[in-house]
């Protein structure tokens, strides 16, 4: 190996060094579907927050950046949560926080004093995004698969939301996050967890 390439993080296992795809280890049933659906739910939730703030508070970039920042802060906080049984409570709390924001900004549209409360809801919804990765890591043989499936789900949720919001706007805001959360809860119920992880 050349000296100048030594600092690159090595490939995770020897099989990858050959440049050939490593075989996927057997995963518990439903883990892939769960990662995909969690990603989709988070994509739906994030886009719904964006449109909610845009339509009912302000379209200025400051609110968009603040919402994204609060989401990421929620992710960081979620990464610190270690108790194993928090998945469903966080799913419920994150979705509930969205509907709280939905109710308050619709009740008093364009009142920027509500922005901090809405941003707190955004952060609460971001908790699941942080908690999920270490919680689900044990279900996947390789971390890249977890990240890949969750990201593909997020992409799916984002695209569905971008299309759904221009076709159904307020109805989408009212229904889509709840439907996505129900799908995640159902996938979680059918998921058979493997050894828990050690992230």
């Amino acid at each position: 190996m050349r000296a100048d390439a030594r600092r690159i993080p090595p490939a995770p296992d020897a099989r990858a060094a050959s440049g050939r795809p490593a075989r996927t280890a057997r995963r518990p049933r439903g883990a892939t579907a769960l990662a995909l659906l969690v990603g989709a739910h988070l994509g739906v939730l994030q886009l719904s927050y964006t449109f909610l703030l845009e339509a009912h508070l302000t379209s200025r970039t400051v609110s968009y950046f603040a919402a994204l920042g609060c989401w990421l802060a929620g992710v960081l906080l979620g990464l610190r949560l270690r108790r194993p049984a928090l998945f469903l409570p966080l799913l419920l709390a994150g979705t509930g926080a969205y509907y709280l924001a939905w109710a308050i900004v619709r009740a008093r549209s364009f009142d920027l004093r509500l922005l901090p409360a809405a941003l707190a809801c955004v952060a609460a919804s971001g908790l699941l995004a942080g908690y999920f990765f270490p919680w689900a890591a044990g279900r996947f043989a390789r971390p890249k698969l977890l990240f890949l499936h969750e990201n593909n789900g997020f992409l799916l949720g984002s695209v569905v939301s971008l299309v759904g919001l221009v076709h159904a706007g307020a109805r989408y805001l009212a229904l889509a996050p709840a439907v996505a959360a129900l799908l995640v809860a159902a996938a979680h119920l059918v998921d058979r967890p493997g050894p828990r992880g050690s992230a």
């Binding site: 364009f110 890949l148 695209v159």
Partner: protein, 493 residues
């Protein structure tokens, strides 16, 4: 007690993660700005940016354990060159694909999707994939917990976002410089040294130094071909704000054209017909009104009604557009000579929903509803906010650049929505565009003869006046635009 020695590889690998997180945040912003200009349909641009960005991240995750380290290092100059080329030539490239596809027989929509798809694929491969390679690789290192690694990357994204908040407001160039610095730091951490690192640094510094000149030169060349009738000589001014790319192009006859996100917003030839109908005529109808202009553009409407209005408040989301127009379109907006105007930086919805002031005349000078964000100012909900800010005799003046008889239902749907909200209204059609004037029961509503006289067109058929019953018939059966069906307007263009 001294800390235990750390594995140097794992340590520098972990330092990559915050850099990758910050770079992704900065790159997303830069790509969104450039693709918005290149893909001339803003709603499609949003979709393509999301697909390309997250698609690139998936690609990076997928490749994370397949790329040998030496390959990754070798790819760096190619990736950087690809990204910089994308920033520079996205606009002519997308237009070229669009034109080629159209000539090959593809319809407008298919050609647009093809151009956007090609750009999106390039963004995925040359854009975000590189930065997404690191997280799964580092997590797989012994001793690097997923929890910690992911936290490092998210913290980096937060840092990138904070940088954007500061640098984005100051200058696009600073955002670009921060991104290029981050790229060089990543290259160093993954092991680029010697000639390769020098090449990357030269590429980054050279681009940062020449970007503005190159961008204006390429843009001028593109606009000359895209808008041949306007005989563009040069792009005098180009600036990115968080909302738009704002350009001022100089024409062969010395005139100037304002472009927002690569689209023509104002040329001197528009001044007479458009500004007269949208602003001057209703101001004359009202006497000395207190006026609010929503959306500024070149602000030629302000110059047109300057002496006729008691006060003029201009409201626009993008202060940079205001500054540019003030500097480059002074002969039209006359802000230097008028003393009865003020500017308020806000989005129209928030302003109308939160500010208690009422106006005799509200002029809507917001660009057409090509995107979700702008279409929110074309809904029944928005027009009700406008209605609530009119004085009892007040008039809302709004143009639709698509007339009522046009094949596209855009104008009919817009006017149908306005007709739902305003008790009294009439429409003037002139040169294929429809100008709506609406208000409450106290709104002055002259008969057709008086209208024609006021417009200076007593007999000619250049102007068509449609009174309320005729407008009702013309728009009957069209859907009312609300937050629930923005696509009915966006897709109707």
């Amino acid at each position: 007690m001294p800390a235990a020695p750390r594995d140097p590889d794992a340590s520098s690998a972990r330092a990559l993660l915050p850099l990758a997180g910050a770079s992704l945040a900065l790159l997303h912003y830069l790509l969104a700005q450039h693709l918005r200009v290149a893909i001339r349909d803003p709603e499609l641009a949003v979709l393509v940016v999301a697909l390309a960005y997250f698609g690139g991240v998936s690609l990076g995750y997928g490749l994370s354990d397949r790329l040998a380290p030496r390959h990754l290092v070798r790819l760096l100059p190619l990736v950087l060159a690809g990204q910089l080329a994308l920033f520079l030539v996205a606009q002519p490239l997308a237009a070229g694909i669009f034109v080629a596809a159209s000539r090959a027989g593809a319809g407008g929509t298919a050609a647009g999707w093809l151009a956007a798809g090609a750009l999106g694929a390039l963004v995925s491969v040359a854009g975000t994939a590189l930065h997404a390679v690191f997280l799964p690789r580092v997590v797989a290192l012994e001793g690097c917990s997923l929890r910690r690694c992911y936290a490092l990357e998210v913290a980096g994204s937060l840092g990138g976002l904070a940088l954007l908040g500061v640098l984005g407001a100051l200058s696009h160039r600073l955002v670009l410089a921060a991104y290029l610095l981050g790229f060089l730091a990543i290259a160093f951490l993954v092991g680029a040294r010697g000639v390769r690192l020098a090449l990357l640094a030269a590429l980054a510094v050279g681009y940062a130094a020449a970007a503005d000149r190159l961008d204006r030169g390429l843009a001028a060349r593109f606009y000359r071909g895209w808008y041949p009738d306007h005989r563009i000589v040069a792009v005098e001014h180009a600036r990115y704000s968080p909302y738009h790319k704002i350009e001022v192009a100089r024409q062969a006859d010395g005139g100037r054209m304002l472009l927002l996100d690569g689209r023509r917003q104002f040329v001197a030839a528009d001044h007479d017909g458009y500004s007269a109908l949208v602003a001057e005529y209703p101001a004359r109808l009202l006497g000395a009104p207190d006026v609010c202009v929503l959306g500024c553009g070149s602000m030629s409407t302000v110059g047109r009604i300057g002496e006729r209005a008691r006060s003029i408040l201009v409201v626009d989301l993008d202060e940079e557009v205001f500054r540019t127009s003030r500097a480059f379109f002074a002969p039209f907006n006359r802000l230097g000579e008028l003393r009865n105007w003020s500017f308020h930086a806000d989005d129209a919805k928030h302003f109308l929903g939160s500010d208690g002031r009422r106006f005799d005349l509200i002029v809507d000078d917001i660009p057409p509803a090509w995107s979700r964000q702008v279409a929110l100012t074309y809904t029944e909900q928005f027009f009700r906010l406008v209605r609530a800010r009119l004085t009892p005799r007040g008039v809302f003046s709004m143009p639709s650049l698509v007339g009522l008889d046009a094949p596209s239902p855009y104008g009919r749907r817009l006017i149908a929505t306005l007709a739902r909200v305003f008790e009294r209204y009439f429409v003037v059609e002139y040169r294929g565009a429809a100008y709506f004037y609406g208000g409450g029961p106290g709104m002055p509503s002259p008969d057709e003869g008086a209208l024609r006289a006021a417009l200076g067109e007593p007999d000619g058929d250049a102007v068509r006046v449609l009174l309320q019953p005729e407008v009702e018939r013309a728009v009957a059966g069209e859907p009312i635009i609300t937050v629930d069906n923005l696509a009915d307007l966006i897709d109707a263009r």
